[in-house]
Amino acid sequence: MRKLPILSACVLSAGLFTGSAAVADPVTVPVLAPITGFLALEGGAQRNGAELAADHAGDGKIEADVQDTTTAPAVAVSAFRRALRDGKPPAVLGPILGSQMLALLPLADAEGVPILTISGTAKLTEMGSPNIFRFFPGDVVVKAAHARYAVEDIGMKAPAIIYQTTAYGQSGRAELVANLKKLGVTPVYEEGLPPSAKDMASALAKARAAGADGLLLHLHGGPTALAVRQAFELDMNLPIVAGSAMHQPTTAALLDPAMLKGVCAESGSAPAAETSGAGKDFADAYRERFGQEPDAFALAEYDAMGMLATALAGGAKGPADVRKAIAAMRYPGVAMTYRTNGRGDMAHDAVIVCYDGASHRARIAKRYQALDGVK
């Protein structure tokens, strides 16, 4: 069984640390994450992934300095400034929340500090910054998998799309429609739901009345569970391919297993569904350390910290070295192999997971590689 890459890299390169820093303080890496507020689930996963990666770096050579950014951009800016108060760190692990990352990126550019993120906000890597590195596949990647699985594997010809009216939802919906179009499919019904929507019955019924032969969901965790449950209660009998929220074990836990029969979801990765190899090793270590099931966000943050640790172990000293190393490196992480597309998008693969209706555990149904053409 393959060992976790971060562990292998750090053990192999331990001499690089010990040779020059046997008595030195550990390298402190600021980890800015929304630990409280409406993104606390994702922020908690981000924190856990970073802390586990720091542990695996071994012998206390890296210390994750976690700071709560809540969900306000101003709080993230304060946390970033605090992180740089005692000198520039080699890099900062930025928050998952796109609006916070948009506020931080100009500061990172002004300071020349690389910022590693798992935010999916497309604009981040379209601003021409040399300091942004994104370790979670964006909508361009995961929505290609979403559309292709629905059309090519399930055979949907007339899907309905139900999405969230937030920036997250609209961005995903646009990519989903664009990818369906490439496959020659036009949705027969679309509806945007505000996050406060408590009842999905009308949207589901309208989708059925429009002649939909499948449902494509792009909703947050709670609304995804509600839509799946109500589709079951309304006896819709339509295949469902949901967004990444459905791959999260916490979302599946809200539903009876029978309601999950035939439900699939896209994601950047699905560590809780891995049954062998580095993915399973990561999931086991995560469960042991935190007593929870890991999700794709935790794994992406783990890999981001792992790539940073490898850059540091390879001799990178400060922010400029780290930026150069990450931009040039091809890093075999746990979820996938990361390499930049020239704009800082590091993740190019996706998976589809499906539930069998007998348990809450998903299985990986399909893996897609280089969906945006970056080999």
Binding site: I35, T36, G44, P194, A197, D199, A201, G222, L226, T251
Partner: protein
């Protein structure tokens, strides 16, 4: 389509049971203590999480719901003791801010204790049945029954009991009531506890059907506030009725137009009401407004 209409009506009423209980408690504290308890939605959510914790410890749905009711009452008392009683003679904004602060503390405590993932408490009764094309869950039916019983009980107590008459007297004119020996402060605190218990019931009903997240209270308090304003400040049962109407509007309006448009229409209607009839549909029971 007829079955769909009935399904939407049922779903709207089930949602309205939760909103109605929530608004009933909000209006009770408002009428009895003159308090606008902005932590009321967070109390409902916190009580729902107590039910989640009870379920994790092995309690069944009914026992967990009872625990949520008790937790709601206790939290209501805490809100009264921390944000209302010590500040009630200060400018009213002080009690608003204190209640908002308590709400934020509750949200963060829930996030720290349970994480940010959506949670669902154990159902009082699982499953459901199909009648004439309408799927009805036992949980929703029990929620409707509980809400109806709560509305009748609150109406009965306020209208026909000695304690209810004293509460109304204390709310109309606290100084005169106190001069007649009515324990105004004790009655107000009792109203907070009852309001918290109703919030607890609402929280567990809403979370069982629509899941709970630590920040869900903000949406709940908004609905209760709109219902209280639309009904007429301090009118208890009309406030609960307006909350049920909001739930029906959300559900059926979404079918007629879309969720996003229905939500926009709800708030547009509220703004129009404020512009043309700021005292609410039924007029203000106390003749004063924050």
């Amino acid at each position: 389509m007829e079955a769909l209409s009935l399904q939407l009506l049922f779903n709207g009423l089930a949602l309205g049971a939760g909103y109605g209980l929530l608004a009933l408690g909000f209006a009770l504290a408002l009428r009895s203590a003159g308090a606008i308890n902005f932590a009321h939605g967070d109390v409902a959510v916190a009580a729902a999480y107590v039910a989640v914790a009870g379920g994790a410890l092995g309690l069944g749905g009914p026992a967990a719901a009872g625990l949520a009711l008790a937790a709601g009452a206790l939290l209501g008392l805490s809100v009264a003791g921390l944000s209302w009683a010590p500040l009630r003679k200060r400018p009213i904004e002080a009690t608003f801010i204190a209640a908002i602060a308590i709400g934020i503390v509750l949200q963060n405590a829930l996030t720290a204790s349970f994480g940010g993932a959506p949670q669902a408490p154990a159902q009082v009764a699982g499953g459901g049945f199909n009648a004439a094309g309408v799927f009805m869950t036992w949980q929703a039916l029990i929620g409707l029954g509980v809400a109806a019983a709560a509305f009748i009980t609150v109406w009965g107590v306020l209208a026909h009991s000695q304690i209810g008459r004293r509460m109304r007297a204390a709310a109309e004119d606290p100084e005169i009531a106190a001069a007649h020996g009515i324990p105004v402060l004790k009655l107000a605190i009792l109203a907070f506890a009852a309001a918290g218990a109703l919030a607890g019931l609402a929280g567990v009903l809403l979370a069982a059907q629509h899941y709970a997240t630590p920040n869900a209270g903000a949406d709940y308090i908004l609905k209760a506030y709109i219902a209280a304003t639309a009904a007429g400040w301090g009118r208890i049962l009309p406030t609960a009725a307006c909350a049920v109407a909001i739930a029906l509007f959300e559900t059926i309006g979404a079918a007629l137009v879309s969720h996003a448009v229905a939500e926009a229409l709800l708030y547009a209607g509220f703004v129009a009401l404020l512009a043309f009839r700021p005292q609410g549909l039924g007029g203000e029971a106390q003749g004063k407004r924050a």
